[in-house]
Symmetry: C3
């Protein structure tokens, strides 16, 4: 029995040692607030002005502003004003707008750099959430930083996990955003 | 007398209850530092190169770089280098520069997304303050995030309340910025 | 002897007093994590498409996208995807990519506004670091804000001191980045 107890304890301490050796400490913390939201981006392609929610506004030499640049769209800056919904349906009643920009920033694959805000205006939430981060688009889930907030998200910080939930060609894509706040006020 | 004391206490606790039920907890906290500053933006319109402090550098297809785009200027990116003053007079001695960009990002009203810094260089303050946020221009006061700082504002975080103090057509506008730091170091 | 002890104590308290009077409190804090990295930027000039790691994608009226704008490049936005190395050799094995944008934002000298991320992918570090800040390029060392991180840099904040370690004309420059995290998780 004593031997068994010892081995259980040993296992327990080994487990602790392994946990603390694990470099990503993300799982050690519980979020103080948690939101899951969707936003929907329809890129202007020269023909869909009525529906489009984003537009290419900058591009490198030789590229134009209605077709994404070749070479993985390197250098394109798109400005967006996308509806935010509680579920994955583009036609659900929006609870706010996702506004800001994304930049395509790799020459040999697809990655983006994001700077944007969620402006939420629903019965549940009133306020803004500000995001900054590197987005390796082709990876299933990507983490970016929540760097601040206002209103109900006053001074909050956290991590947003982004997932490309659906897309159609290069015109429509839908992002699922799992926002975990670790610093609430 | 005892009854009166009880009712006062009751009122007191009701007040506490109401305070904590209020969803915006902004008022619970006292800033650890507080600054009020003004900055002045003169947009380049093709004729005012000498005076202009900002320029449109990106715009969607069909728009140009000296006239703000139609449809509420959606997609315009302006880069600015604006003087910061202690009062609302454009000609007061600047205490620093506001530098960065704003993006017009709504198709059916005026809103902006801001990414900029205050670089302060006065006897009172030496250092930079970094701002990110969603700015619904037509609302009287708007809150954005102070996401960091350097020098005298080392590691600071807070909220900046922006107010369009004055404007002239689409060429000049003056912003009053009430900066409340809630995290000082 | 007693007098000497007193004067030593007096000196000690004077020192304390001076320390707390010093407005920049940066030196009071010890970083909880410290990294020194280099990144290498090769600006596209119309001829170096194979080697270039950044491109001008936006510029004010009259400027073009392969030559930096006159008047101190005011208004140019460059998007970059630069290799990060552990030493100052451009040809060392990269440990990650620096991705985002810089904006030239002064009419009468050279300054930039930076919004970018380090995406690190080495045996030592896996994760991203997000930076925002004002960069007065001509000053030897400049501080910007580390506003967040993911992976091994989950929720971190700090200060990055940037130093232009080398440059060649207006095509190549190398930045040394001394990252001091003061908030680790």
């Amino acid at each position: 029995m004593a031997a068994r107890k010892t081995s259980v304890l040993l296992f327990f301490f080994m487990f602790l040692a392994l946990s603390s050796a694990f470099p990503r400490n993300k799982n050690k913390y519980k979020p103080c607030k948690h939101l899951v939201l969707f936003f929907h981006d329809i890129i202007y392609n020269g023909k869909n002005a009525a529906n489009a929610t984003s537009a290419i506004v900058a591009a490198p030499q030789g590229a134009n502003l209605t077709i994404l640049a070749p070479q993985f769209h390197f250098g394109n800056i798109a400005v967006f004003d996308d509806p935010i919904t509680l579920d994955n349906n583009l036609h659900s009643k929006p609870v706010g707008r996702a506004q800001g920009m994304y930049i395509y920033d790799t020459k040999n694959t697809f990655t983006a750099w994001l700077g944007f805000s969620f402006a939420l205006n629903s019965t549940d939430y009133q306020g803004s959430i500000n995001f900054i981060g590197y987005d390796p688009i082709l990876i299933k889930t990507r983490d970016i930083s929540v760097v601040g907030g206002t209103g109900d998200f006053f001074m909050h910080r956290g991590i947003a996990t982004i997932n490309t939930d659906a897309y159609e060609g290069e015109v429509y894509f839908r992002l699922k955003v799992d926002i975990k706040f670790y610093e609430c006020w």
